[in-house]
């Protein structure tokens, strides 16, 4: 059983109107890259929720991972494609705000999902609170360490909303635990090899590292490899996301814990809301999905491959 199915509903409930299918229900779904399994999970969630309601999905992903210019072009191109609705996340929120404002102005209802894309009249926002996730997982580690020790932070891409919010969360947690010292904080671009090599280098400088916080699973897994190779596999590593590979590492004791950032579920909910909005339902303005802390005790649920997961029950209309 899925432990968390409830969602934060911000408005009062209304009766669900009868479903009225539009002629062409094609949904454009944006994601940032074809590399990170988080987004693959998200795309599978979108596809599943749309299929359940009989809508079609077209995915837009830049050919160069997280490429702002290309993502901006795609946004412009989607204005021409004129889908019935769109699910949008920004590679760079500031950069893509004008584009998404124009998409909305062209009459396409847009649901913002995964991370906040700035100030535009979105139908709804579906996501998680990156700051809270960062803070929660960092506190989990600090408490595991007994509130004292030196930790290393592996940041994402400097300047990305996700990366910056998570880093601020880590730092906020550190302020709450005065016994914790941050030894080094290096960006590793959400990628595995840069994280591995940065970790290797940082280890040379600090013979004693008590814990590692990574802003995403891929970097945590890179750090785990570096620590294991140096015979320091006992250093606890925490991360954010919860893709199956990282959950396996939790199972095997290589990662201590992960703050769940569930792309699959975000995809499910966002697609579901968008289609229901098209069919005339009133949907919540904002859905903040809670994130669990995945540990060895509860990890089984997240070991299921994305393709075999089932979308949670729809969030009631408002």
């Amino acid at each position: 059983m899925r432990r968390v199915t409830a969602a934060l509903v911000l408005a009062t409930m209304l009766a669900a109107p009868p479903t009225a299918r539009a002629a062409d229900e094609t949904i454009a779904a944006f994601s940032k890259n074809q590399v990170d399994p988080h987004f693959e999970g998200l795309r599978i969630g979108v596809d599943q929720a749309a299929a359940a309601l009989g809508a079609t999905v077209r995915h837009y992903v830049p050919t160069r991972p997280n490429n702002i210019a290309e993502a901006t072009s795609q946004l412009e191109d989607v204005v021409a494609a004129h889908p019935a609705a769109a699910l949008f996340m920004a590679v760079d929120a500031r950069a893509q705000l004008p584009g998404v404002q124009r998409l909305i102005a062209s009459g396409v209802p847009v649901v913002n999902y995964n991370d906040r894309a700035g100030d535009a009249p979105f139908v709804s926002y579906v996501g998680q609170d990156d700051f809270a996730l960062g803070k929660a997982i960092a506190l989990h580690l600090f408490d595991h360490l007994g509130g004292r020790g030196g930790v290393v932070i592996l940041e994402g891409v400097r300047g990305s909303t996700t990366g910056d919010d998570r880093r601020r969360g880590f730092e906020a947690a550190a302020r709450e635990r005065p016994g914790i010292r941050i030894l080094a904080s290096q960006p590793a671009n959400f990628q595995r090899l840069p994280a591995l090599q940065a970790m290797e280098n940082i280890m040379q400088r600090y013979p004693r590292i008590d814990g590692v916080i990574a802003a995403a699973d891929a970097m945590a897994l890179g750090a785990v490899e570096a620590l294991a190779a140096a015979g320091r596999a006992n250093v606890p590593v925490v991360s954010i996301n919860g893709v199956p590979e990282a959950v396996e590492a939790v199972r095997d004791g290589r990662i201590l814990a992960i703050a769940e950032f569930n792309g699959f579920r975000i995809g499910c909910v966002a697609a579901n809301l968008a289609i229901r909005h098209l069919r005339g339902e009133n949907v919540p303005r904002e859905v903040l999905l809670p994130g669990a802390i995945i540990t060895r005790a509860n990890m089984a649920e997240w070991l299921v491959p994305f393709a075999q997961r089932r979308c949670p029950p729809p969030i009631p209309a408002t």
Partner: protein
Amino acid sequence: MPMAERALPAPFRRAPGAAVALVVLVAIFAASSGGRFLSVGNLVSLSSQVALLLLVALPMTFVVLTEGLDLSVGALMGLAGVVAATAMLGGWGVPGALLAALGTGLVLGAVNGALIAWGGMPAFVVTLGTMGLAEGLALAVTDGEPVSGFGDAPRLAWQAMIGPVPLPVAVAAALYALLHLLLYRTPFGAHVVAVGGNREALRLAGIRGRAVHAAVYVLSASCAALAAFLLVGRTNAAHPTVALGVEFDAIVAVVLGGTSFERGQGWLFGTVLGAAAIGVLRNGLNVLAVDPSLQVVAVGLLAILALVAGNRRGGRART
């Protein structure tokens, strides 16, 4: 124009790769997109995208005509954008910001040009080095964070329409006109072609070929700085690494457009066709929502197929 090949229109003679690709792609996309590809809205965004590429690709044509290339423009666009945005935040106003960006371009272009023309160093290595310098400076100055909050002027500029024409397209058209005049209607243009085609002829004619050679890199960098300003408007922020990789698209556009890396053979309008072919391919794939991974393959195939198609080969008899 040569008499022998009159039968074919100029684009097919002089830039066969780009021309064929363009015709085929437009036909496919127009036929299979149910009118969306040729809609006014799409043409506006398509033409703006092509315009931005052209701001880099047109001056790159000059560089390639001298048998060189400029890998630093993408990184420079990031740096110049950051400089412009910082200048606006510092209260320099839009003209001041433009000048600051342009100055950044001039300096980097002069470094490239001096090392290549007077230092006799290979363009590939020099511009790879300055690419690192520009990218690193942009990242270091901003610590990787985009610079924003400088007001609406750049964004409004990017979105402005001059009559039915988007401003970026108008800027690219103006730049095309300017560079067309520069290449075909000034002594400088002839000298650029001669730097690539026959430097000995320049020497015999008593022209300082090295200054001409260096100038094309200054031109390339200045135009990149100009493009950076529009890009800042487009993305509403100056992102230090936003344009990395654009140099490759620009070079492919130039070569697709029938400009050769050898002997100063080239055609400025061909670059427009080349950039249009690249823009149409990417835009059309998006409008048709082709699987993202296949889009990556399609870009590579276009480059190679168009080049192979454009490559004329001699016959063989005795084997």
